[in-house]
Subunit: 319 residues, 4 copies
């Protein structure tokens, strides 16, 4: 294998740059040429491809976002898109790829592998919603950003003895909500995967205030409902001085945390080694603290399973 | 003067605790006893008053919010509320007050002064909308929090080549928007005090993208319109991939910056010295880098004037 | 079991407060009374013990240090100290303990268990030098603080084209150095557990500068040698414009990261459950992402083993 | 005026990049071509000069350090160096310069002005030791970095009931020490410009501990003596559990604060306007919150005067 390509796809996530750097540098250290592909699969099809040097990835380890840019490109599900992409790969002599992104990225990586271009997928998304990995690249940073914001919101909540209903990202996955909720000492955490009772939450908040607590924090994962809708429901059960906050896209950006930098570095390095062994069609993950691979095809029927024991634990820890 | 009281009122702001500490410690250093009054004027009327020791203000210099709690209490505009408040002051032997807060706080401070209890007002609000002061306590921290969030949003904006319309706080005052806009290299800053053309902003963004810039940031002060409404207007003039973000209440909290800690310390210290000189009915400010006072009554007909030259400067600096 | 005690011992670490909170709240949720013991084993012997309420641990989840204070107290290795400590436990009706700290803490916990007071040890130290756990409470925060500092140092290193030799904490353990080195893109990482060649490091730096890199970062774990001594050696092999930096005690403090808050919460909660099952003399750890226990006695002959594969990986990733 | 050059000189400071961006963009907005000069006066003499586009300064507003690099180059004090520098300016058609840096930069700027190349000096240094300006570019960021570090150190100081003697930067200027000391609630601040009594400091610390305070923080400006030497003296007057910490070069780096970004932007913009008015040999400053200019020659006999009233105020505020 003499030449590999690398692209980022789907929503951006902090640590994508660190992963790109790791792929590029590991390949170069092993005598493999590396080509950057801009704008994900859209750029692959359009031929927005450039040879990378060691310099291309200098000073990006700590930068949020993805300097390769990213785009959603559903057209790559069609044969036509794939064939045009392959033409571009051939033109540049690229034999294999590393694809960093979320769900959609894996479909593209599998399609290319089936057509003879070994591709390895790395889980790059803040949502932590990829099966067969405990952690995705960007998740720890998003949790950190959200927890920092909630630490600030708690100040104003306490000063005014208010309840805040805070919407965090994660789409259909409650992992950000759970981790951030525990880290913030939230009174309640509401995730789409598990049942909840708004009345019980209201009762807990009432009891807390009665016991002298000076604020309330309820974390609602975006897959549940909007924080405004949630608050409306909550106010049916109690007359709280309450506000909502949507943390929004700031959760997607920012410098990756140490954990994300290290995770992305390890995964990027590992992906190249897999390609060097002639492997393709694999999704890299980290399970029980060890790098692992699964056939991409197995991801499509699977669901990420979070650590829902955090919910019961948090109920004991907050009062 | 043997005993003074201190309260925080209106919306909370980072640095209020630092100001309370400065008032308390300066008074104690000068042999004056200090009473803390919780929940602003509401707590004054209700008698939620306690003697402070040096310990009471230990470890609060760096904490956001106000440990004295705050509340809005329009009833204090009425004679009845004021008389009940004065009763409480007499009960505790409190002869004078320092009041930290926004607009409403000054009305209370003036009313008490007129009734024989010298009161000094300190400008504690993130909005920077107090007349006769260049800076309010909390403003620098709010700008810092907003700029940090925008730095993160820029990552994801760039990765996707998007425009973000970002709503920042400030009520009718554009100071946060202007300062944060300059600090973030925003493409456009929209404030309620000055005319603007959404079409011109759209044209600037189009030109920027045409010149190769990979993102757009528009800062809209909350006093202008919602970021959703603004985006709707903007999309009339250009087909941008765009999102909105409301930074929200996180701007009110968090550890005060060095600037806010120092400003609050200086103002709190100064307020006690004014009371020791027998003064009251004064608003403390900082103008041209010097602490100053103005009769509170003069504030009511005045408006804070921002540094609008930042708008034209920013137009040159962003491209 | 009706009453448990909790203490922190040895060097402080961010997340100790989160662990104390988790122990206290979990115990209370299960109807167990909790006593705080100040100043570690010294305070136990001196009887500095107080009943905790839910309020005692309010607002400490996010605070660095340990509000229970800590102290080194080698006298607890002697029978006399232990007997006096047990007297105090009896006086307060405390039947079991959770001890949070480093190496010395485990000896005390084991001694108390042997004398009939079940004790569970939690690994609280930034150094990550405890056997049978992949992570200690405080390690992630210390790495984050160190990496943040190095991100800043890189700015000035690049501006002046300098080499910085940076001393990070960890005593005889290179884990902080390795994790921070990878996260910082260090040119070289030197740890006490593995051989290294200063000449080879100098040659790598020379090659980097020759290839156009504008700075050099060498991370030296404190267990290797001082950064000043290291620099002296380095300068024998190359005429670098170089400086040293000792990150020092700031690495021990600060708000715990999300990871440390969650880890401490889980471990604290788990420790109480172990005590409720009548267990003692156990060290809690996290191995392969799962909470685990080991007999404390087994720790004394064992050594923490780091992930030394990071060293080779980093050599490829930095250039 | 059709072409200007820009360089950074002396020690780097956060905000230098923001100032370079402001100079470049303001010039371009006014139809003036801009040339970047790398490595300060050394690069000017060596001809390391390149034409800048708007892109050259994209994404640098928030970056620490200086992407133009900097160097100390005492040779520029000699006629030979100056003549060679002028040759380079002529070769590129550069008619005027903006020089950002500390003391040495001003000498170079004045020399060039005298030889017919109008030059404006901007105060870029973390030390705040430039006469005729209340603030230098980088000062607020350095204070913020130092205060953040001290906030962390306080955690471990409190946990162990320790005294920390902390060395902060500033060379012969105590401004960082004073501002950081007030912002950190230091027990004592020692600056080179004012007398101090180590015995009195020891007595204050003893009294604080006697009153129940759980830690001590002494800030010593680097111009006074080393923190190790200071601690030796301190221990003559009291038997403290004490440690030293040298914050070091991390104070020079990092993302500039909002204040520094805005200040640098305003100064950079202003410098171009001065050149457009045909002015040279001027140092830009900010006095009493207004941009101002002074003849560079007047700086050489003057000394920056700090706000030493902070020392007495801090004595009252800390206990």
């Amino acid at each position: 294998m003499k030449r590999i390509g690398i692209l980022t796809s789907g929503g951006d996530a902090p640590g994508m740059n660190a992963a790109v750097r790791a792929v590029a540098r590991t390949a170069m250290a092993n005598g493999i040429e590396v080509f950057g592909i801009r704008y994900g699969f859209a750029g692959l099809v359009a031929g927005d491809i450039f040879p990378m040097t060691s310099d291309s990835v200098a000073n990006i380890l700590t930068r949020g976002g993805t300097f390769l840019y990213t785009a959603r490109y559903p057209e790559f599900a069609q044969e036509e898109g794939q064939l045009r992409g392959i033409e571009q790969l051939k033109k540049h002599g690229i034999e294999a790829l590393v694809v960093i992104g979320g769900d959609g990225s894996y479909h593209g990586a599998l399609a290319l592998t089936k057509r003879g271009f070994n591709s390895i997928g790395l889980p790059g998304t803040i949502d932590n919603d990829i099966p067969f990995t405990d952690l995705t690249i960007g998740f720890d940073t998003a949790c950190t950003t959200a927890a920092d914001a909630i630490d600030k919101i708690r100040d104003t909540a306490s000063s005014h003895q208010r309840v805040f209903v805070i919407n965090v990202m994660g789409r259909d996955c409650g992992d950000i909500a759970m981790r951030v909720g525990v880290a913030s000492g939230a009174d309640a955490i509401v995730v789409p995967e598990k049942p909840y009772s708004i009345e019980a939450i209201a009762n807990k908040l009432k009891k807390s205030f009665a016991n002298g607590k000076d604020h309330g924090i309820v974390i609602v994962a975006e897959g549940v409902m909007s924080s405004d809708d949630f608050l409306k429901e909550l106010l049916k059960y109690g007359d709280f001085d309450a506000r909502t906050e949507v943390l929004g896209h700031m959760q997607r950006g920012g410098e990756p945390t140490v954990s994300d930098r290290v995770l992305a570095s390890k995964m990027g390095s590992y992906a190249v080694k897999l390609l060097m062994e002639g492997k393709g069609g694999l999704a890299v993950g980290i399970e029980d603290n060890h790098l692992c691979t699964h056939d991409i095809v197995d991801l499509f029927d699977s669901h990420h399973v979070g650590d829902y024991s955090l919910l019961a634990m948090n109920d004991d820890l907050s009062r």
